[in-house]
């Protein structure tokens, strides 16, 4: 006891220093984890965006796909498949169009109507009950979470993790410069450009103690692109 009392000040200082170092270590690990999650979400956002970008660039016109129906009517049934959307507010829920079955295959120039086509649908599927909170200083925002899935001829061929918070498709038609959101259910007849935006949330670290609250101001990753459709002219 005498020894402890003699060195009480030193012991208190050592304890405080150890505590500070421990907190710094926790912060460092948290920061590294957030950086890794950020990179992963960024990669996931780009993956689905590049796929969508390629599909839109290969979008076929109504005439092109009806030409194909005349060759092989069993490929397409149901009608209204050339380009359609459904939306809720400013969020696109479904975006369907006819595109090349193989996004990277060259078109047979001599017989363009022989190129194999598919109906592709990008669907935003709500994760039941799932939402994410975003902390912006003292303000907390809650966002519903979705999966964005790619469906080819009715079969799900791929999907994102359920971290999509926003998906939007906009159209521009010949003679009109501005893009309009997908409030309509069919694409304009003289569609010239399609624009899309995807936003995904980053899952934060589970908060156990007050010090573990994320101090990051960046909890989303987004990508947007505009694709010209010269063959729709």
């Amino acid at each position: 006891m005498q020894v402890i009392l003699d060195h009480l000040a030193a012991l208190i200082i050592v304890s405080v220093l150890v505590l500070i170092f421990a907190l710094l270590q926790v912060r460092g690990v948290q920061s590294a984890s957030e950086t890794t999650v950020n990179a992963m979400v960024r990669g996931a956002t780009l993956d689905i965006s590049f796929m969508l970008e390629k599909d839109i660039a290969n979008m076929r016109t109504f005439q092109q796909y009806t030409d194909l129906i005349s060759l092989d009517p069993t490929l397409f049934t149901g009608g209204g498949w050339n380009c359609s959307t459904t939306a809720s507010g400013d969020t696109t829920l479904n975006f369907s169009f006819v595109t090349l079955s193989d996004p990277y295959a060259p078109i047979d120039v001599a017989n363009p109507n022989n190129t194999e086509l598919s109906l592709v649908t990008y669907q935003l599927i709500r994760e039941p009950g799932s939402a994410i909170d975003r902390q912006m200083g003292a303000v907390a925002q809650t966002h519903p979470l979705y999966r964005l899935q790619r469906v080819i001829n009715g079969v799900v061929t791929g999907q994102t993790q359920p971290y999509v918070t926003f998906f939007d498709i906009e159209f521009a038609q010949r003679g009109i410069a501005a893009f309009t959101p997908t409030s309509t259910t069919t694409c304009p007849a003289e569609l010239t450009r399609v624009r899309f935006q995807v936003q995904m949330a980053q899952e934060g670290i589970e908060r156990i103690a007050a010090d573990q609250l994320s101090n990051s101001q960046l909890n989303f990753s987004r990508y947007g692109s505009t694709i010209d459709l010269p063959n729709w002219e």
């Binding site: 000040a9 030193a10 200082i13 220093l17 500070i20 170092f21 710094l24 912060r27 460092g28 920061s31 957030e34 950086t35 950020n38 960024r42 400013d90 925002q141 966002h143 918070t165 926003f166 939007d168 521009a172 003679g175 009109i176 410069a177 501005a178 893009f179 010239t192 450009r193 624009r195 935006q197 936003q199 101090n215 990051s216 101001q217 960046l218 989303f220 990753s221 987004r222 990508y223 947007g224 692109s225 505009t226 010209d228």
Partner: protein, 177 residues
């Protein structure tokens, strides 16, 4: 006395380490933030150039429906910008590509969902000399190709000036119908 000096030395070391750690975390976040800003600026530039390119090639081609290879009636580069009743700051009045020459908009808030990116855009329009692309042609030169150069800048921090050129992109537009 000796113990006090040792304690002060220890606190100094901890403070230094702590500040470096905070700086490291800040730099990581800043890098990620700038990357998102760059993506937003790139997306914005692509959209804007697409919109600009959808306008008429020249004031003299507004009502023309067939290809005209005569360049004599095209606007000289010194006169690029708004013409006649068009207001310089009102994009709604712009009807051809070179109306955007010199146009600057500092009020852009590129919004996605509840995200807002503050950007500033500025346009330059030039004729392209097909025999010497990439160089600025001499005054009075005209051709059937124009290049629209869009520069997008952003703020490095809220409230700071627009100092960071984050995207410079151009699109060549030919005069065909």
């Amino acid at each position: 006395m000796q113990q006090t000096l040792l304690a002060l030395g220890a606190l100094l070391i901890v403070t230094t380490i702590s500040m470096n750690q905070q700086r490291s975390i800040f730099m990581l976040q800043r890098t990620a933030y700038v990357r998102e800003l760059e993506a937003a600026a790139s997306d914005y530039a692509q959209m804007r150039l697409s919109e600009v390119a959808s306008r008429a090639f020249d004031e003299a081609r507004l009502t023309m429906t067939t290809l005209n290879t005569d360049v004599s009636d095209l606007t000289v580069s010194a006169s690029f910008g708004v013409e006649g009743p068009e207001a310089a700051g009102n994009e709604g009045d712009f009807d051809d590509i070179d109306d955007f020459h010199g146009y600057i908009d500092s009020t852009i808030t590129h919004t996605l969902s509840d995200e807002t990116y503050r950007l500033r855009e500025s346009f330059t329009v030039e004729y392209v000399d097909p025999t010497s692309p990439g160089t600025t042609p001499a005054a009075g030169f005209k051709s059937l190709i124009k290049v629209v150069i869009l520069t997008v800048e952003t703020q490095e921090a809220i409230g700071s000036g627009y100092v960071r050129i984050i995207e410079r992109r151009s699109i060549a537009v030919s005069d065909y119908v």
